[in-house]
């Protein structure tokens, strides 16, 4: 697999899995206005993943859906930070803050890429991420005095480095396999290539 495809998959997998986790809050977020808002963030993340997969898919001779759904857990290249199931809002927002910070830097580097397609897509994604960063900052401002939140930040911070530096990605948590199992349960019920 080319370096370009590897790079794209690492980011796409991050966005896909994070988007999947963030979408778990749709319907049960702390209050209704935030529920709507956070669901948009989750959808944007999945949308970013899709765009990145589409680029990689052309290189690899496959489709975005096949890349998103049909690989084995060990073939995914996401950072462990995004795999964790975090049912507490303090952890979800802590992850959101840490991920957005790392992702901002990552996107800045990509926007400067010699590869015009990657640079172009990174610029588009970044224009949406501006809003995600605003959202994360808003919540950070509100929660920074809360001990359970600062504890969550401390707990998750070590995992944030791998977002920016894929060489630090060393295998997956068991949670990824569980997530993928559920995520693919409908899709696997019919032969590969079935249209849904």
């Amino acid at each position: 697999m080319s370096g370009r495809a590897e790079l794209l998959l690492a980011i796409a997998d991050d966005e896909l899995i994070l988007g999947w986790r963030d979408s778990e809050w749709t319907g049960i977020a702390p209050f209704l206005e935030e529920d709507v808002a956070f669901s948009s963030i989750a959808q944007n993340e999945v949308g970013h993943a899709r765009a990145l997969y589409e680029l990689a898919a052309r290189d690899l001779g496959t489709t975005a859906d096949e890349l998103a759904f049909d690989r084995r857990p060990e073939e995914y290249r996401c950072a462990q930070l995004v795999e964790l199931r975090l049912p507490g809002w303090e952890h979800t927002i802590a992850r959101h803050v840490l991920y957005e910070q790392a992702d901002a830097e990552r996107l800045e580097r990509l926007r400067a890429s010699d590869d015009a397609e990657i640079a172009g897509l990174a610029a588009k994604i970044d224009r949406e991420e501006v809003y995600h960063r605003l959202h994360a900052e808003m919540w950070l401002e509100r929660l920074k005095g809360e001990p359970r939140f600062t504890a969550a930040l401390d707990e998750l911070r070590p995992l944030a480095e791998a977002v920016l530096d894929p060489s630090l990605r060393d295998g997956h948590t068991p949670e990824l396999a569980e997530l993928l199992e559920e995520m693919t349960s409908v899709r696997r019920s019919q032969p590969a290539g079935t249209t849904w």
């Binding site: 209050f31 206005e33 935030e34 709507v36 808002a37 948009s40 809003y131 605003l134 959202h135 808003m138 509100r142």
Partner: protein
Amino acid sequence: MIYEVFRQERKGQAFQHAGSIEAPDEHFAQWYAREQYGRRGESEALWVVERGAILRIDDFVDELNRNYHRVDGYPLKEKLKEARERASRAAAGDR
């Protein structure tokens, strides 16, 4: 706090009241209004205002019947009829 949202559907149109949201401050209010009233690209622009900042006026006084402000203060029909008849009599008289 409650924030009222006014929405402009297309450029050039008036902003119309679209609804309200509850938010802890204006940063959250902007985020929530943008999503609730714009995520499907349905709005050109939004005005978001804290409810307490809106001054409501619904008492209008007209005790002495200011009919000069209304159409019924200008009873033209009879006068026009009279003026037309006078003009046509004058024209007939000239011949």
